[in-house]
């Protein structure tokens, strides 16, 4: 090696060294190598001493197989930490078996990695928040419309009105609610109503029915809207019975008495979103009107149905006959009180 070569090597910004293959002795080193791996400054220090983290065994088996060995490590020079990538490979140009060692700083790469890391964490966090928000909106919307309608709207931006032929609609209304609200502490009454309706929501879900909406102190539920279950009438009958039983048990434990009229009806309805900015999902049609009539013609803590619904359910449930009644818009119909369910075999 002449002086020019030596000067070039000494001036390199990378570390270069020639290491004896027999014992890891350092046969040659440039200035950068000494700067990064000074050891203790003693003579003839081996590579394994100069570079304490060096995994000699693994390096040896790799190099003896004729494959390069690379690794990364940290060094501290004058209090500043630097990341290095070190490569060792077989070197044939020396008078004895030797390996050529090169090390370069990857500090810039590490900085980029850090930046990439923090950026991707930020992006992941934003994505998670967005996902959470989406879930929240979805839950809110699912409260006011059936899932099928929600999905149609998400897909197409609007939902077309849909006819459901086999549904049962339940209406419940509290007797004397207005007087109750005025007589007692109104906010306490509303809190209780909220409590009752929340329980109704859970019961409704339990019986595979759906709450359509509440209007003031009235509660409207439907069965057969989501899946065309042949049991929609029986489901709504069980729902009505369970609502009544819930109120009876609640009244036993509370000073404030809640008395409801319940009616339900089986028939076809049209379901549709109404409104543009403030939309609600609502049901329309004679089936709904008749359910409302059944409720208004019912009596405190009674459940009223008409002849048609009675015929559907008479084998599974217990009824008492109320006789013919004039129903506004529907002529004269035989009405029944639903009393309970026959024991299921």
């Amino acid at each position: 090696m002449n002086d020019t070569h030596r000067q070039v090597l000494q001036g390199l910004d990378s570390a270069v060294a020639l290491v004896g293959a027999e014992d890891w002795s350092v046969l040659f080193e440039n200035a950068k190598f000494f700067r990064w791996f000074p050891g203790t400054g003693g003579d003839d220090e081996l590579l394994t001493t100069r570079m304490p983290d060096f995994r000699a065994e693994r390096a040896q088996s790799r190099l003896e197989a004729g494959r390069p060995f690379k690794f990364e490590l940290k060094v501290t020079v004058e209090g500043r930490e630097d990341h290095l990538r070190v490569t060792l490979e077989k070197f044939d140009g020396a008078s004895e078996p030797a390996y050529l060692l090169q090390a370069t700083s990857i500090r810039k790469e590490m900085e980029t990695q850090y930046m990439l890391d923090s950026y991707s964490k930020m992006a992941e966090k934003n994505a998670r928040e967005l996902e959470r928000e989406k879930d929240r909106v979805e839950r809110l919307l699912l409260n006011i419309m059936p899932r099928a309608v929600f999905e149609e709207m998400r897909e197409f931006g609007t939902a077309t009105p849909q006819r459901f032929d086999s549904t049962s609609i339940l209406m419940l209304d509290f007797v004397g609610f207005t007087d109750m609200a005025i007589a007692a502490d109104p906010s306490a009454i509303i809190a209780e109503l909220n409590d009752i309706f929340s329980s109704f929501d859970r019961i409704t879900e339990m019986f595979d029915c759906e709450r359509v909406r509440t209007i003031g102190d009235a509660y409207m539920a439907v069965s057969g809207l989501l899946d065309e279950s042949p049991d929609h009438a029986a489901n709504i009958a069980r729902l009505a019975l369970r609502f009544r039983r819930y109120l009876e048990r609640r009244n036993q434990a509370h000073p404030q008495q809640w008395t409801a009229r319940i009616g339900f009806n089986t028939g076809s309805v049209i379901g549709s979103l109404v409104g543009v900015q403030k939309y609600v999902y609502d049901l329309f049609g004679p089936g709904v009107n008749l359910a409302a009539r059944m409720e208004s013609m019912s009596e405190p803590m009674k459940i009223t149905v008409n002849e048609e619904t009675y015929q559907l359910l008479k084998n599974e449930f217990v009824f008492t006959e109320r006789g013919p009644h004039e129903i506004k818009g529907f002529g004269t119909q035989n009405l029944y009180f639903l009393e309970g369910e026959l024991a299921r075999r």
């Binding site: 693994r58 390069p68 690379k70 690794f71 980029t112 990695q113």
Partner: protein, 119 residues
């Protein structure tokens, strides 16, 4: 559930550096370099980072059909595939993956040999 290999070894940025090192070694290999003669390595490393991330249980996923279609015109031989998995193993070892994890990742690649190698 234990953390995925992906997150245990430092996530996307760390994996991308390992992949980058892996391709340095691949391009140093006389046997493998010709396969990448006309490849834009920046895009390649980006793809591969996502691919390796998916093999290590991180985000992104690649179907076997996709792998097959991108490798079909490369006519990759058994030997080249062997060299590549050896370099991969060495790279992971040098980045201090423990033996089980090296085995898992190399196994994931080997499992896809059928769709990568010419047959």
């Amino acid at each position: 559930m234990t953390d995925s290999i992906f997150s245990r070894y430092g996530g996307f940025a760390a994996i991308s550096r390992i992949v980058s090192d892996f391709y340095d070694r691949v391009l140093d290999s006389d046997q493998l370099a010709p396969y990448f003669a006309h490849t834009d390595m920046a895009t390649q490393i980006d793809h591969q980072t996502k691919f390796f991330a998916s093999m290590m249980g991180g985000p992104a996923s690649y179907s076997d059909e996709h792998l097959e279609s991108v490798h079909a015109r490369l006519h990759i031989t058994d030997d080249a595939f062997g060299e590549l998995t050896l370099i991969l193993q060495e790279t992971l070892e040098d980045h201090e993956f423990d033996d089980t994890d090296v085995g898992t990742v190399v196994g994931e690649v080997t499992r896809r040999k059928r769709v990568i190698v010419e047959h």
